[in-house]
Subunit: 243 residues, 2 copies
């Protein structure tokens, strides 16, 4: 059984907690949403890396025909890359059978931070909220930490809402899980906005910036709850779909 | 006019923000509640210090007849000290005309952290929520940062609720203040619990620990909203009531 659930509202707070049995990294806008979509559409794996140069090194190592260069800086396609960070850029006809070398401003870095203490790390989004909660309940005992990627070191409303959605799902499906104050605050926030989740997500600072950059459709697409069954799991540098 | 309001949900996140024009340190259970009560009851000033030895040094410098040694470790009276950290220990007949050398686990340390960048720093609690919000609106332009003291480095529900209460008061009394995502999350949390604030405060991790230590009355006393008009302000090492 899962014993407790806590939320690091920004990655900088991961270290303030004892190591967890499992961690979920959440970057609703857009990295973990995009990862879930890419795997649901048949991508073989995703290799999260810190910098664009690291992605190019992955391609050079694995092979140009098998790897797509993916990610964003300032929300936009990186020069010379194949795909930006929009989930709409990852349909099956583009990503099936491919390895994606992905670098984003917040999400992939949070993933690498969360993986440092050796816990199992999942990628959570609103899209696959229920699937991730079920994987946690089925696969782990002990303490679970939800890590919000945030935005350049500050708290993101959409990530905290998603963390709260996961806490709510754990509480509904599981037995007596002890939520920390942060987990209870996140769950309370989610429950207050559950009936108008799309509106709440669209009101966040990051959503407004994405809209200004022309990505309004992404914001709406990432605000859907429980529409994908995929559970991305990060192991030894590679994210694949849990089977 | 105040331009924006942000919330550092734990003191470790103060540095992630540009310096603010004013900061409010919040430790509902119990340091900033106790500071507000002590000043309302006629204490001359409060000198927040990190360690018990620092409090003794203050008393030796200013004089044994004028200084009370105050604070807690593990929620309890420090050996050889005059007063613990319970607001009930600070009636007028004890504290009027006195200087209080105060050291607590979370609140006084958060105060010293928040003061580092030279901003005006206030002590906020539920008790004096409205008074602090009015002082911010009357006295400052630019960006305001609300600093939750938290509990040993982790987020405290009661402090986040109080931060949300202050954001709500700023929004009601002020004009177009831009709340950060963290400020909006805090306000939303507060609004969701406003009608049963005492229950929400009492459910927090720290409240339960205080109850277990025999301080249930303190938890209830600190959950009252807008009952004190005092605005504690920290300047050059000393907290006094704003006049």
């Amino acid at each position: 059984m899962i014993r407790s659930v806590d939320v690091a509202v920004v990655p900088a707070l991961i270290g303030a907690r004892p190591p967890a049995a499992a961690a979920v990294v959440i970057d609703v806008l857009r990295a973990t949403s995009t990862i879930a979509v890419a795997l649901a559409n048949g991508a073989t794996s995703i290799i999260p890396v810190r910098e664009p140069g690291d992605a190019i090194a992955v391609r050079n190592r694995i092979g140009r025909d098998r790897v797509l260069l993916c990610g964003e800086r300032n929300s936009r396609l990186i020069a010379g890359f194949d795909l930006d960070n929009s989930p709409a850029s990852y349909p099956a006809e583009v990503v099936a059978g491919k390895t994606l070398a992905l670098t984003t401003t917040n999400g992939t870095r949070a993933l690498l931070e969360a993986a440092r203490d050796g816990a199992s790390v999942y990628c959570g989004a609103l899209l696959n909220r229920r699937a991730v909660a079920r994987a946690l309940l089925a696969g782990h005992t002990g303490d679970v930490l939800l890590v919000c990627a945030g935005n350049e070191g500050t708290l993101s409303l959409e990530d905290l809402l998603c963390a709260g959605a996961i806490v709510a799902a754990l509480g509904r499906d599981g037995a007596a899980i002890e939520p920390s104050d942060a987990a209870r605050a996140a769950m309370s926030l989610f429950e207050g906005h559950a009936k108008r989740l799309t509106t709440a997500i669209a009101s966040s600072t990051h959503a407004r910036a994405l809209r200004d950059a022309g990505f309004a459709a992404d914001v709406a697409a990432c605000a859907e709850l429980d529409v994908l069954d995929v559970v991305p799991v990060y192991r030894e540098g590679i994210v694949t779909a849990l089977r």
